[in-house]
């Protein structure tokens, strides 16, 4: 078949299509690579650094979600080194904001919390920064709690690519980065918001939630968003 190449994942030979990413090929072949910012059918950005893999002949770790496969490539998805770096990336996410699982709407349904359990992160080695952050309750139906945001930008991409509204984006840079709606106005005043809730359903944590839910009650349906994205033509 044209465009078909062969690569090795964890020693196993698999076939792949030119243009696919390492993550896509790994998933198609039942290999698990942890991810947080990645969402099926949405453009990958390589923001969370959890999907890093080792590639033979490359002396740095590469994000599987944005690295295209090449013929003859040999990829390692699980190793002690990768485990150590994935833990560091995850612990830094926890230390950056105020993630209090016990009082979160997404407790027990949160991808960040679940990833900590999966990777065996039982404590955070880095000092918490305990930033002072706001909660935007101005929207009629939804809440944005910056304390719980990991800046994965899933909401930004889903809103721009699937809904086509592009209400969300990231303001400032570095540690001062914040997800903002329109011109950093309260969400409830964002003229471009269609109230569709795709951002809420694709948010991996409790940062975006529906109003009226108590602790543990918010269950996200990101499958609804990714299926819609695929039907509307996938990555743009």
């Amino acid at each position: 078949m044209p465009g078909q190449i062969s690569i090795r994942i964890d020693g196993e030979y698999v076939t792949a299509q030119v243009g696919q990413t390492i993550l896509e090929v790994a998933r198609a072949n039942g290999k698990y690579i942890p991810t947080l910012c990645w969402l099926e059918s949405i453009t990958p950005v390589g923001a969370c650094r959890l999907c890093i893999v080792e590639v033979s002949g490359v002396n740095r770790l590469l994000p599987a979600c944005t690295t295209p496969v090449q013929d003859g490539m040999s990829v390692t998805t699980q190793s002690e080194k990768l485990q150590a770096y994935r833990k560091i990336a995850l612990e830094l996410l926890f230390s950056e904001r105020n993630h209090i699982c016990a009082v979160c709407v997404s407790n027990n349904h949160c991808e960040l919390q679940g990833m900590a359990q999966k990777l065996g992160v039982n404590s955070i080695r880095y000092a918490y920064s305990f930033p002072k952050l706001s909660v935007d309750v101005s929207h009629e139906r939804y809440v944005l709690d910056h304390n719980r945001c990991i800046l994965c930008t899933r909401c930004v991409r889903v809103c721009a690519q699937v809904e086509g509204a592009h209400v969300w984006d990231v303001s400032s840079r570095g540690i001062h980065s914040l997800v903002v709606s329109d011109m950093a106005k309260p969400w409830g005043e964002a003229v471009n918001c269609t109230n569709c809730g795709k951002c809420v359903n694709s948010c991996p944590t409790g940062a975006l939630a529906e109003k009226g839910f108590a602790v543990e009650e918010m269950v996200k349906r990101d499958g609804k968003v990714t299926r819609l994205a695929a039907r509307r033509g996938g990555q743009q």
């Binding site: 930004v156 303001s171 709606s181």
Partner: protein, 179 residues
């Protein structure tokens, strides 16, 4: 992304300048940066008002959030009116070890700007209420051999101390010595 098509508080003159600027950047990659820079440069207070950003969003069909993201990412864009004179203090490592923090504190005192404690020691961008001076911090000017470095109205001054800094302020007319 259309928001308030046809409704804007901008003067016709600013509108036509914006229209011309946008037209001259048509089809060029990275056009937004050039447009915003021209719009800011044209403003007497060297800043981008919400009205200007909304107008640019409307005319370029770019999302408001994306424009806001760009103007907050780059330090060169201002969202608040700037003072007649801008004083930038370098807070890089070399300047820090040569006492730039004291210079910053001294300027605050001189200009009557509030002390923001630990939080305000690193990143500052404030303007005096009378609109005369803007005080800001810079990560590094790349002139570390001259540390501590202060930039006054785009001119770099090296080896600054509190006395020389005060003299520069007086040259700008601060302290009533010159009108």
């Amino acid at each position: 992304m259309a928001t308030m098509t046809g409704q804007t508080a901008l003067s016709l003159e600013v509108q036509s300048f914006a229209d011309k600027t946008i037209a001259s950047h048509q089809g060029k990659p990275g056009a937004l940066l050039g447009i915003l820079e021209s719009m800011q440069e044209r403003n007497p207070h060297k800043y981008l008002s919400t009205e200007v950003l909304e107008y640019v969003a409307d005319k370029t069909d770019l999302p408001l959030a994306q424009i806001y993201s760009v103007v907050t990412f780059y330090a060169l864009f201002n969202l608040e009116p700037q003072g007649e004179h801008t004083i930038s203090i370098c807070r890089g490592t070399a300047c820090h070890t040569r006492g730039s923090r004291n210079l910053l504190q001294r300027l605050r005192l001189e200009l009557g700007l509030p002390d923001m404690g630990e939080e305000g020691a690193d990143k500052v961008c404030v303007t005096t209420p009378d609109g005369k001076y803007s005080l800001r911090t810079v990560a590094c000017f790349g002139q570390c051999a001259l540390a501590p470095v202060v930039e006054v109205d785009h001119v770099i001054y090296g080896h600054m101390n509190e006395q020389t800094l005060k003299r520069e302020l007086e040259h700008l007319g601060h302290g009533g010595k010159r009108a």
